[in-house]
């Protein structure tokens, strides 16, 4: 019996080891190639002949075509603004849906559900023309404003997660506040918001990560204005036929640079997510 258990345990650990190698190898390859000294794209061998840090240094000394640091800043600014806007939208809507009762509440939630079923970028073309009509596609900077609006405009529809969290805050807390003479607004600002740190962090970080990982909207709105690109379309550009030979290793360096902050943020959201799902006020 004991021998059998030892065998199963060994088999399981070996299996886990093999699987984790499969899962880590591609990431390892990305890191490895980002330090490769030889330029050029595909090689007939895997282990680099030499190692260098130049890929990272060159990455931040780009030219007008490939300007990684500028893309980084673009994305950062866009992400900050769209985070503020969309977090505001999400929190407002989810608080209203969770706490306030009014006539259109149910129908609003159903409409939100239905709207979520259309393919996201089906409306993209129309959004493009609306933004053009508003004159927001004239210059690169205005395009960035347009991108912020696109990322945050419809954010109010994604209220389910935060609503679920607000639902777990006991109503008795609100009622106690009402008795003390607080308005509903006061309750929202002074009681619900301070009690909701995990879900607010979660909302903020997910909204912040959006612009870093979105490819399609950024591409359609930015078109060929390379200096105003965000990171995602920028990295994609590095793999285009005209650039790939020279920028192949830098592309991997860029991937590593971007992945580190995003990975840290992601691990943070996981923590908040778990806290958020488990509810606000623990008994």
């Amino acid at each position: 019996m004991k021998a059998k258990r030892i065998i199963t345990n060994t088999v399981c650990h070996v299996l886990l080891a093999i699987l984790s190698v499969i899962w880590v190898l591609p990431i390892f390859y990305v890191v490895l190639t980002s330090f490769r000294a030889e330029s050029g794209s595909y090689k007939s061998y895997i282990w680099p002949r030499g190692f260098t840090f130049d890929n990272y240094i060159n990455l931040f000394h780009g030219n007008s075509n490939i300007d990684f640091s500028r893309w980084f800043m673009n994305t950062f600014v866009i992400a900050i603004f769209s985070t503020i806007l969309s977090a505001f939208f999400v929190l407002c809507v989810s608080y209203v849906m969770s706490r306030l009762r009014f006539k259109m509440r149910k129908s609003f939630m159903n409409i939100a559900l239905v709207l979520g079923m259309f393919p996201g970028f089906m409306s993209m073309i129309a959004v493009y023309y609306i933004l053009k009509g508003l004159g927001l596609l004239e210059t690169g900077v205005l395009k960035q404003v347009a991108l912020v609006l696109v990322y945050s405009g419809g954010a109010g529809l994604g209220f389910y997660m935060a609503k679920g969290f607000f639902d777990t805050i006991p109503k008795t807390i609100d009622e106690a506040a009402y008795i003390d003479g607080a308005t509903k607004w006061d309750t929202f600002i002074r009681i619900t918001i301070p009690l909701s740190k995990p879900i607010i962090t979660y909302t903020l970080i997910t909204a912040f990560m959006g612009p870093w990982v979105d490819y399609i909207f950024a591409k359609v709105i930015m078109g060929e204005e390379r200096p105003y690109y965000t990171i995602a379309i920028g990295l994609w550009t590095m793999l285009e036929k005209e650039f790939v030979e020279y920028y192949y290793t830098q592309f991997y360096a860029g991937c590593v640079v971007i992945s580190i902050p995003i990975a840290i943020l992601f691990l943070l959201t996981q923590k908040c997510y778990v806290e958020g799902v488990s509810g606000a006020v623990k008994g």
Binding site: I46, G120, W236
Partner: protein
């Protein structure tokens, strides 16, 4: 009871307490008139600011309507009549374009005008209701709220309106209006032959839908294979990621497994990397000259110049994409299932063990039903997400390998990536819109049917 009711009666009578029909039926002449001349009832009852705001909105709307709106509505019906022409300029010796109607803008302005009209009807109803409740309060001898009270009510009874106003405007501008616009385009002839501003397009009714479904047309012979691949992909991708992720979570959470945190970290690492980075590097890794082929050459599985067509052969491409998707999806499932697995009541397992159940039986009879019960909503979301999984297909294979039998689609194109190609590359906006509507219909039916059949919907307390 009577006293009690009086206490409950809100100090401030909300317009929303009465329905529009009620307000119209019970209102006096002034109230009824307020439905058409916005704010009249309020102004007459000394609620000057509120009344004036209503009135200003209405005047603004009609100013827009007469200066621009009526023309826009006319153009909306015809979608433009004057085609852009070419006039030969003798002096310069070149052709010059004369301005014509832009059908695209006609449609867009038409939709915007309709949206504004809907908004003004809403304002009219609000004005009527507001006039009615003022009248009601006056008749009951209560004091009429001043504008200050209105502002104060935004923090209390009308907080929902205050908080929702901006988000809803955002949703309307960036989701609803564009969506209506695209749905309308499905009923026009806006394709690559009818590109504004050079050419006009018109309403064609259901012709686009008919050509999408008509026997033997190239469109139909593209649509059905793409649809079936989309469905196969969505089912396989969802199920494989779910089952394998669940098994992985079980493997890590086994009693005998050491260093659980370490194993979990190894897998979470791949989730933490941004998806497009993973996808783009996977694309290079599986490239014809990428490291996987190099590796296979070195260990001698294929010849020195051969390469396995991971993305260029239809069947290989499909398998590669599904495998890569498993690579991406499994850690996600593992993360989300771990917590739920730990919640399964231990008594269930103990009872099964006492009855002599083997590990596979326990998985089949206890773990899987429990997990399915808890996670069906998640599964539905990930199924719909996979039908719309643009990134994986677009960034990996780009829909390729292309097929000559298809109408601008490749063998691995999903409906959404086909939609993208049709609109962005091919400029067949009407067909793209048709596909969008069809995707919506598929998703709506799938989620409605499955959601209603699930245990978690029918019997909420089964495992409690």
């Amino acid at each position: 009871m009577g006293i009690f009711k009086k206490k409950v009666q809100p100090l401030y009578f909300r317009p929303s307490d009465a329905s529009v029909a009620q307000a119209f039926k019970n209102g006096n002449a002034m109230t009824k008139l307020s439905f058409f001349v916005c704010g009249l009832g309020n102004i007459a009852n000394k609620q000057l600011v509120r009344g004036l705001i209503f009135l200003a909105l209405e005047i603004g709307y009609f100013a827009y309507l007469f200066s621009f709106g009526i023309g826009a509505l006319g153009d909306f019906i015809t979608l433009g009549t004057v085609e852009q022409g070419q006039v030969f300029n003798e002096a310069l010796g070149i052709y010059e374009y004369s301005a014509g109607d832009d059908s695209m803008l006609c449609l867009l302005y038409g939709v915007i005008t309709l949206a504004l009209t809907a908004a003004i009807i809403f304002v009219g109803c609000m004005s009527g209701k507001s006039a009615y409740c003022t009248q009601f309060r006056k008749e009951k001898g209560m004091d009429v709220p001043s504008f200050k009270d209105d502002i104060r009510s935004l923090k209390e009874e009308n907080l929902h309106a205050f908080l929702l106003a901006v988000p809803i405007i955002g949703i309307l501008c960036f989701t609803v209006v564009p969506l209506v616009f695209m749905i309308l385009i499905a009923f026009t002839s806006y394709d690559h032959d009818h590109q504004p501003p050079g050419n006009l397009f018109t309403w064609v009714g259901l012709a686009n839908f008919k050509s999408m479904f008509s026997q033997g047309s190239k469109l139909a012979s593209t649509f059905w294979p793409v649809l079936s691949w989309t469905l196969i992909w969505a089912v396989v991708a969802t199920v494989s990621c779910y089952i394998l992720g669940l098994l992985l979570a079980l493997l890590i959470n086994r009693k005998g497994t050491r260093a659980k945190g370490f194993w979990r970290f190894m897998f979470v690492l791949s989730v933490a990397v941004p998806q497009f980075v993973t996808l783009l590097s996977m694309r290079t890794i599986f490239n014809a000259n990428g490291p996987v082929n190099v590796l296979l050459r070195e260990i001698g599985m294929i010849g020195a110049t051969e390469s396995i067509p991971f993305f260029t052969d239809p069947l290989y491409a499909k398998i590669t994409i599904i495998c890569i998707n498993i690579w991406i999806g499994v850690p996600f499932t593992m993360l989300s299932t771990t917590g739920i697995l730990q919640n399964i009541p231990a008594e269930l397992y103990e009872a099964a063990k006492i009855d002599g159940a083997s590990a596979p039986t326990i998985f089949r009879k206890i773990t899987l039903p429990y997990m399915l019960f808890v996670m069906t909503p998640n599964l539905i979301t990930s199924f719909t997400g996979n039908i719309n999984n643009f990134n994986v297909i677009f960034l990996l294979s780009g829909g390729g390998p292309d097929s000559l039998d298809y109408y601008y689609a490749g063998k691995t194109d999903l409906l959404v990536t086909w939609l993208y190609r049709l609109t962005i590359t091919q400029k067949d906006y009407n067909l793209g819109a048709v596909i969008g509507i069809l995707v919506f219909i598929i998703l709506a039916t799938v989620s409605l049917i499955t959601y209603r059949r699930t245990g978690s919907y029918k019997d909420e307390g089964a495992f409690q």
